[in-house]
Amino acid sequence: MMGRSRSGSDRRQPISRRTRAALVYALLACALAALFAASVCVGSAATSPADVIATLAQGPGAGDLGQIIWQIRLPRAIMTVLLGGALSLAGFLLQTFFANPIADPFVLGVSSGARLAVALVMIAVLGANQALSPAASVGAALAGSLATMCVVLAMARRVRSQGMLIVAGVMVGYVCQAATNFLVAFADDQSIVNLHNWSQGSFSGTAWPEVAAAAVTVAAVSAAVFALSKPLGAYQLGENYARSVGVNVMALRMLIIVASTLLAACVAAFAGPISFVGIAAPHLAKLAVGSSRPIVVTPACLLTGAVFCCGCDLVARTLFAPVELSVSAVTAVFGAPVVIALMLKKRGLR
């Protein structure tokens, strides 16, 4: 892919770059469609693609297969796509915000903050024998994410060094984890099981109302981020520069934080903390389109994250079926090499 675009890039750069981006989008969309189809078709109940198409055509609620497809696999597959895109976009926004290649909701402790808040609600407020409603868990995750983000921002204001910021984020993450463990020590068994299931990161057990909520959030935030492409591009060249060309930097920073926290909270609430997607996917997207201009990267980011998560969920579900792995375990296997490669490349340049 790279070689092809380079050969034509000498004379007609803008056109060739546009073609390259279009090509990347098309390829990613194809991959996503294929993985999505596979997610719906593959599972413990053996189904042939023809059966699936027939079931889908019949509409929801017809027989066992209809139940499996319409109530289990389809919502889960859609959720995976939505949240994968959300994670990736949140990572891209935070990387742009902090001008740091390895910033993402997980690294900055936002996911741990969300987990702590959910644990607090689950154990301390509700107590035993009461299940946590989806709305409550979303609310708790959002509150936890926002609170953690505020703490990280307050520290980022003090520490100018990028390395220190990551350290601060990791520390916040540890503190949240410690607090969660503390809570767990005093919790009853059922709460522990609930929390453990949630905090492993999984797309299983997704229901349609949750899918609808996630879809609305992710679509709205993505549209907003796309509309911010122009000021984001100026911001990438430095805060002072952005200000000098007339960007309202304070407002832009607020919008970036709100958007990325919303996306991260959405993921944390519906799937639990999922690592590495937020770092790996945006970088893969940038490398694929060969640019870091937000207007090109934003769609690519959403697609890459969706493909990445969809693929990882498929692997998590099928590799040791019927045992289901946690998504984070799979994303880490595929994501960690990307992060390591990035760090090595970064060091090589210095």
Partner: protein
């Protein structure tokens, strides 16, 4: 947008940028105050002054990044404080010293960012925008580098790209903080030439802080000198950059700055001259500089006044014997030189290159021989003979 004419028959155009009684600083304490400065369209004004005098702070205030502690900044006759950011960006461009860390952005991407104030909602460039980008990049000599990754370009190329980005904004006023830092001598001159050309052809008012006096002296129409918390002096480079003012500004020896070269030399070695350098056919400048570097006080002669070597010796030599230009060396001058030479422990003279008509030089050489003073052909020769300890007493 057009600057209001101050009076209908004013021979001078209205200033594009004007600082009125400006006080600048971070926080409450003023770093520099009572600054009055006007920059006309097409003019390049250099802001000079020692480190920490507030040059950058003045520029940051003029661009609106810092609020003035007192006074005001006028942009095309309009108060900067009352100008919205987007409107300001259409007339004012600035370039500070930090380099952006980019990832996967081409040189052209970076330059195109300068069109920000003119593009639409999503920042797509139109045909006109592309034409501006191209013409500016060609003027800056980086059009051939347009597809290069900005992060992989040399400092000089990057600086050109950033200047091009600022010019791309089609500003009426351009503020630059140390535009020549990171650049080698050749690139510095080219950069200033580019700025001068652009300022003149596009009528841009340029205010640039320069720490290099050599460049300020050569490139600026006017020099404004920031020192002791205010604008200490302002005027044509030759008026401002005198040995006395440079000495006061930077705390260097009054004789170390040469207005002729516009450069500052190393400290003159202290003490009575230990070596006499006899002037010959070739320039003795390398000899003078070598001796000065090693801290050896020396005497130089006999040189015509206002000769380049004599100018340098004025900064570096402990004793200098000169003769009026285009006159034969008078006897009393030779006598003075002879007396100085006899007080020295050694003589440096490139014998073969003394020059056929250099009667005075030969005379001095003979004097040295008679007195038994050792004669060396070069400074290196002398230094080899004199072990490190002996010439430092």
């Amino acid at each position: 947008m057009t600057p209001p004419a101050r009076s209908a028959h004013a021979p001078q155009p209205a200033p594009a940028l004007a600082l009125h009684g400006l006080a600048v600083g971070h926080g409450k304490r003023a770093l520099a105050s009572n600054i009055d400065l006007e920059v006309l369209p097409g003019e390049l004004v250099a802001l000079i002054g020692p480190n920490g005098s507030g040059k950058t702070t003045i520029l940051r205030t003029a661009v609106g990044q810092l609020k003035p502690l007192a006074g005001r900044v006028e942009l095309l006759g309009r108060d900067l404080a009352g100008t919205p950011g987007a409107e300001r960006a259409r007339v004012l461009a600035a370039l500070f010293t930090g380099r952006p860390h980019t990832e996967l952005l081409t040189c052209q991407d970076v330059v195109e960012a300068g069109r920000y104030p003119f593009t639409g909602r999503l920042g797509a460039l139109g045909r006109g925008d592309r034409a501006v980008v191209r013409s500016v990049m060609e003027a800056a000599g980086i059009w051939h580098l347009r597809d290069r990754d900005f992060a992989h370009m040399s400092d000089g190329q990057r600086q050109r790209a950033l200047i091009a980005r600022a010019l791309c904004q089609e500003p009426r006023v351009l503020l630059l903080d140390e535009p020549t830092s990171y650049l080698d001598i050749g690139a510095q001159l080219e950069m200033l030439q580019l700025l001068r050309d652009q300022a003149q052809s596009r009528g841009i008012a340029v205010l640039a802080s320069l720490h290099d006096l050599t460049l300020a002296l050569r490139a600026a129409d006017r020099v404004a000198c920031v020192a002791n918390g205010t604008l200490a002096a302002e005027g044509a480079p030759d008026e401002i950059l005198t040995p006395r003012s440079v000495s006061a500004l930077y705390g260097v020896d009054a004789t170390s700055f040469s207005p002729l070269f516009g450069t500052v030399e190393m400290h003159r070695p202290e003490g009575a001259p230990r070596v006499f350098v006899i002037a010959g056919e070739h320039s003795s400048a390398p000899t003078y500089r070598t001796l000065a570097r090693h801290g050896i006080p020396f005497a130089a002669g006999v040189l015509p006044e206002r000769d380049a070597d004599a100018e340098l010796a004025r900064s570096l030599a402990s004793a200098l014997i000169t003769e009026r230009p285009f006159e034969p060396v008078r006897n009393e001058t030779t006598a003075r030189a002879r007396a100085t030479l006899l007080s020295c422990a050694a003589v440096i003279c490139a014998k073969e290159r003394l020059g056929a008509e250099n009667a005075c030089g030969s005379d001095l050489l003979v004097t040295a021989r008679k007195a038994g003073t050792p004669v060396y052909v070069s400074a290196e020769d002398y230094l080899k003979d004199a072990p490190a300890g002996t010439h430092d007493t």
